[in-house]
Amino acid sequence: MEAICGALEPLFPCREVTINTLGELIGDPREAYPSAIYLFGHSGTGKTALTRAFLKECTNRQNVRTAHLNAIECYTTKIMLEILLDSLELDKADPVKADNMLEFLEQLRRWHGVPEAHSQGFLIAVDNAERLRDMDANVLPVLLRLQQLTSLNLCVILLSQLPFEKFYNKTGLSEVISLHLAQYNKMETQRILGSDFVQVRSQLIKKLAKDNRQLGIFKEAMTEDFYNNYLNIFLSVFYKACRDVPELQLTARKCFSIYLEPVLDGTVEANDISRLWRHIAGPLRSALTQIYMRIEKPLEDTEGSASIEDQSVRRLAQSLELPYYAKYLLIAAFLASHNAANQDKRLFVKHHGKQRKRMQTVNAKAKTSDKMSTTLGPKSFSIDRLLAIFYAILEEKVGLTCNLLSQISTLVHLKLLGYVSGEQNIMDGSARLQCTVGLEFVLQIGKVVGFNVRQYLCDFM
């Protein structure tokens, strides 16, 4: 057990406590394992990596049979059982089959009779364990009591982001040992990020090997202090937005080369932190908007990627190519979604008569922003109404052809419109649609075709 913990601790800084607890619980296969361990914490806190490394150490040092599976993959129970059997199997002679839980348990019990299995330990880790709740009703209870049911020295480790309370159901579950992996605080994060100093250094040395002068500067400048200073600056920008360590690690490495640039050029001294800060602040801020997006820059054309990064609504609406009528259909759909049906006559018919003003209507009209239908979200409309508005706002005369109707389904396919109800019975006209794009977007599209959308919205009248 000490050997395992000792091997793992340098790999997972700031997780010594958890490693020790795990080691005490399942560190020795000669002792009885607990029946189940529940390991939870946010993403990027090292659940999976830690468990995987732990299981690997167990296999290597103590000859424990282990299985690590991802619950997302198991869209049927059978797949899960087969993966489990496959990796727990004692002798890899012929593939064992198990169609249901009963056969699975039978199979495991049979191993109990095998003499070599007596001293053998079995560990099963299930990633994304929250998915187990959606699987067959017997999966989760059986997994939690697997030790009892098979009389093997077996432990199931469940990994999830949710606390265990979310797993309770009507029939109740047997007790598990819960272990929480708390998020790293800022100091810990910095320590973890700093732990790859040697790796980053050697990587960059390899990269700079061609240029002797720069290599010299780099070797001199790149000290642990320098790197930690950088990480400090980096975290002061990023820590508020993101605590996912792998994500931070990735971004930190990406930005480090920018940070290093002026030093390599010789324009800024390596210990002049305030000037380096001024240099890096802009790039860091722009990197902050890119976090989690994982858009890689192609090497050859940088100006092309710049336009992709700038994803403002205006650009989006202009870059989205739609045929002319599709644009009008989208505008019509937006109008239908954001105007009340009883206002249609007023908005779209030329001679709609005079509207009588009553105190009630005047009061109702005095809209506050929370009553604005553009802020309330889209309402549903029928295809008939969509077409009626389309014909009203389009100046030219167009026939109701297949090409036009198929545009509606194209827009649905592009997720610019969405079905609210009655997707199955489009034929009898009871299907209701909804426009899913925002006001900004439609205003831009209106500008492209020369149509003032605001003029036709009740909110702005």
Partner: protein, 723 residues
């Protein structure tokens, strides 16, 4: 023939999304039949000269377009192949997002090209997953595994399996026809390890497993998220590469994938050519190429581009539309077999029969030709003697060919000249100008005048550069596109002198000074001298301003430069525009053989109007059935001999929103009984069970067609659904 109409007026919806990539317009249907099996068309038809000419033209055009598209794909495909090759096995899933534009069926062929490339290079196994196969996660994974494992075994044997001999037996052994339910990732993994063992020496050329999702938007978000999570979980063992075809924009990707998924991928964005650009390329290089004898008239041309720009952005659809025009054109008769290369056409003249010659004589432009001959005898022989006309035909054909080629050259000149004027009065693209020039006389149109005015306002350097560029462009066009043609040299010989004169005029412009021309008749105008009194000065100034005004009205330029510019523009107008860019009605005789102008037919047959077709079928079945019993003098008439469905339909048109079934039935009965006024109430109550059966059936059919539905609000009533 009525069957054909029925066929083509039926509605064939062409959905834009890749969920249904099959297009079922009559165009396609005919094509499939003609190209794949000649069994539908009689041998007789296939042997006809017009069919041969059609086939030649179409195969030429088609090959040209295919080549062009291949070239335009090539760059993107190249980038993607590089991306796949560079992708390293990693925790993160390498992902390429290809922004395709909204018409995705067009791009399926692009993904096909990519697949072929990757297989040829032996760099990867590829699986194309369509959203319609992946409604659930299970279906998606199974489809993917099946696609990857079974690829070379099932469909294309020649590509992958032939070369990998050492792996061949492994494949054989492993290959026991997988069942769908066996397609799990476990299976895939064992297959991968068997076939591509990761030995040290082979580490470099590990096969990538490429998964292509051509229609990203079609996938349900949850399936896609899980799918990506699974792939990324396995990407250490198996080097997956994901390629997404995104129709809208990158925000769709980020909208669909939450952080915990998008942090598992490494995204690279690729852009493809925009659909309108692709179309313009096809139009400029193929349809407007002087190489082909077949031309679309301005209206048809505009119509087809209109469908493209206003409705669907489908280049494929456009090409099919063009093909329909081609078929329609050639099927008009054997006379149209002359619409091919000049040399071939000469050979075909001999094959023409009397009927074909008559067909030529009936062309509208032929009449003008006859009227233009002032020799009486020759007129008679042209009209009656087939042999004589056959002798005359080569000259006429030659005129036509030369006319079209020169038209194209002049168009090239004009496009460059007026394409970048502010506001583009004539349009800035070649296709717009083309439609313009063919439709009406350009010189008299107000847009043309506006253009000319703008040109004359240009500064000297600008003007000279512009015209020079246009000239250079035209000459380049002559050398590159026209010279290799049969009649190319003749055309060049015709056009060269014109270009030369313009060039000379341009030189004059270059040398012209900016000073106002000295008017010798009134020397006083240059200097206001010898003024004796204030009145005199006033009078003189008045006189001068009058002169200026007068000159402006007469459009007499004041400076030498302006005069030179005017002269050049005039030259261009008379030598190029008026002579060559003639509208269709002024084109040489028998140009109808080369130009397709039957827009009504095309419109009727290409654009499906389901409501209209159904209405006319139900309202006037005679239109389709062509039977004697259903002939109606007036569309609103109702006779008992009409089909039951028609009677029920017409009666329902007279009703309001709710229809009482019993009233409807009675009306139905009275129509079927031929309007014998049965006054007896008892007879009205008594309904013939046969009639009731007919009625029930007709109502059921109307419901099936979506005209009515049962109502829950009122018993014995149905609701009308259409108006």
């Amino acid at each position: 023939f009525s069957l054909v109409i029925l066929f083509s007026q039926g509605c064939f919806v062409y959905k834009n999304g890749a969920t249904r990539a099959t297009k079922k317009t009559p165009v396609k249907r005919k094509r499939v039949l003609t190209s794949s099996s000649s069994s539908l068309l009689d041998q007789e038809i296939i042997c006809q000269p017009f069919y041969e000419a059609y086939r030649q033209t179409w195969s030429q055009v088609n090959a040209h377009i295919a080549e062009l598209q291949q070239r335009s794909y090539a760059r993107t495909v190249e980038h993607l192949v590089n991306f796949v090759a560079m992708a390293k096995p990693d925790e993160l899933l390498p992902t390429a997002a290809l922004l395709t534009g909204i018409n995705q069926p067009d791009h399926l062929s692009q993904f096909d090209a990519l697949t072929r490339r990757l297989h040829d290079q032996q760099a990867a196994r590829v699986c194309v997953l369509l959203s319609r196969d992946c409604s659930t996660l299970k279906a998606a994974v199974e489809a993917m595994v099946f696609g990857l494992v079974e690829y070379d075994a099932g469909k294309i044997i020649g590509v992958g399996s032939g070369e990998e001999e050492e792996e061949h037996d492994v494949v054989e052994r492993d290959h026991k026809r997988l069942r769908r339910s066996q397609c799990t990732l476990k299976q895939l993994r064992s297959w991968y390890e068997n076939n591509f063992p990761s030995g040290h020496e082979r580490e470099q050329k590990r096969r990538q497993l490429v998964v292509i999702l051509p229609d990203f938007e079609g996938f349900s978000a949850s399936v896609l998220q899980d799918f990506i999570l699974i792939l990324s979980a396995h990407s250490v063992a198996m080097p997956f590469v994901l390629i997404l075809g995104v129709a809208t924009a990158m925000s769709a990707v980020h909208g669909t994938l939450p952080y915990h998924v998008s942090s598992k991928i490494r995204l690279r964005v690729f852009q493809t050519q925009a659909a309108p650009t692709g179309l313009n390329e096809v139009l400029d290089k193929v349809l407007l190429s002087p190489r082909y004898a077949f031309h679309l008239s301005g209206k048809t041309f505009k119509f087809l581009t209109h469908i493209f720009l206003y409705y669907d952005f489908s280049v494929h659809g456009f090409i099919q539309g063009f093909k329909y025009c081609l078929m329609e054109h050639f099927s008009a008769g054997n006379a149209f077999s002359l619409c091919s290369d000049y040399g071939r056409a000469l050979g075909r003249i001999k094959q023409l029969t009397h009927i074909d010659i008559e067909c030529i004589r009936r062309l509208p432009s032929f009449r003008q030709y006859v009227e233009g001959i002032n020799d009486c005898k020759r007129v008679i022989s042209v009209l009656t003697d087939d042999e004589y006309l056959k002798k005359k035909l080569p000259q006429l054909l030659r005129d036509c060919h030369i006319h079209f080629i020169l038209f194209r050259c002049a168009l090239e000149f004009l496009t460059d000249l007026v394409g970048d004027l502010p506001h583009c009065p004539l349009g800035k693209l070649r296709r717009e100008l083309y439609a313009h020039c063919l439709n009406k006389t350009l010189v008299t149109s107000p847009e043309f005048k506006e253009c000319w005015q703008m040109l004359s306002f240009l500064a000297r350097d600008e003007f000279v550069a512009k015209v020079k560029r246009s000239l250079a462009r035209t000459e380049e066009f002559l050398v590159e596109n026209v010279a290799p043609l049969e009649l190319g040299q003749a055309c060049i010989a015709l056009l060269e002198p014109q270009l030369k004169t313009i060039y000379q005029a341009l030189n004059d412009v270059f040398q012209a000074s900016m000073t106002a021309k000295t008017d010798k008749t009134s020397p006083s105008s240059t200097y206001i001298s010898q003024i004796s009194s204030r009145q005199e000065l006033k009078a003189q100034i008045l006189q001068r301003s009058k002169d200026d005004k007068h000159r402006q009205e007469e459009n007499i330029p004041t400076t030498e430069f302006a005069r030179a510019v005017q002269k050049t523009l005039k030259l261009v107008e008379t030598h190029l525009v008026q002579v060559y860019l003639r509208p269709l009605q002024d084109a040489p005789p028998i140009h109808e053989l080369f130009v397709f102008d039957d827009i009504a037919t095309v419109r009727r047959n290409i654009i499906g109007a389901p409501r209209a077709a159904l209405h006319s079928a139900l309202n006037n079945p005679h239109f389709y059935l062509q039977c004697k019993c259903c002939e109606l003098r007036d569309q609103t008439h109702l006779v008992g001999t009409l089909p039951d469905l028609t009677v029920a339909y017409k009666l329902h048109l007279e009703c309001g929103r709710m229809i009482n079934l019993f009233d409807w039935l009675q009306a139905f009965q009275s129509v079927l009984n031929g309007g014998d006024n049965v006054t007896d109430d008892a007879a009205l109550e008594q309904i013939d069970p046969r009639i009731q059966a007919c009625f029930t059936r007709a109502v059921a059919e109307l419901q099936f067609l979506g005209y009515i539905k049962t109502s829950k609000r009122k018993t014995d009533h149905v609701t009308r659904l259409t108006w």
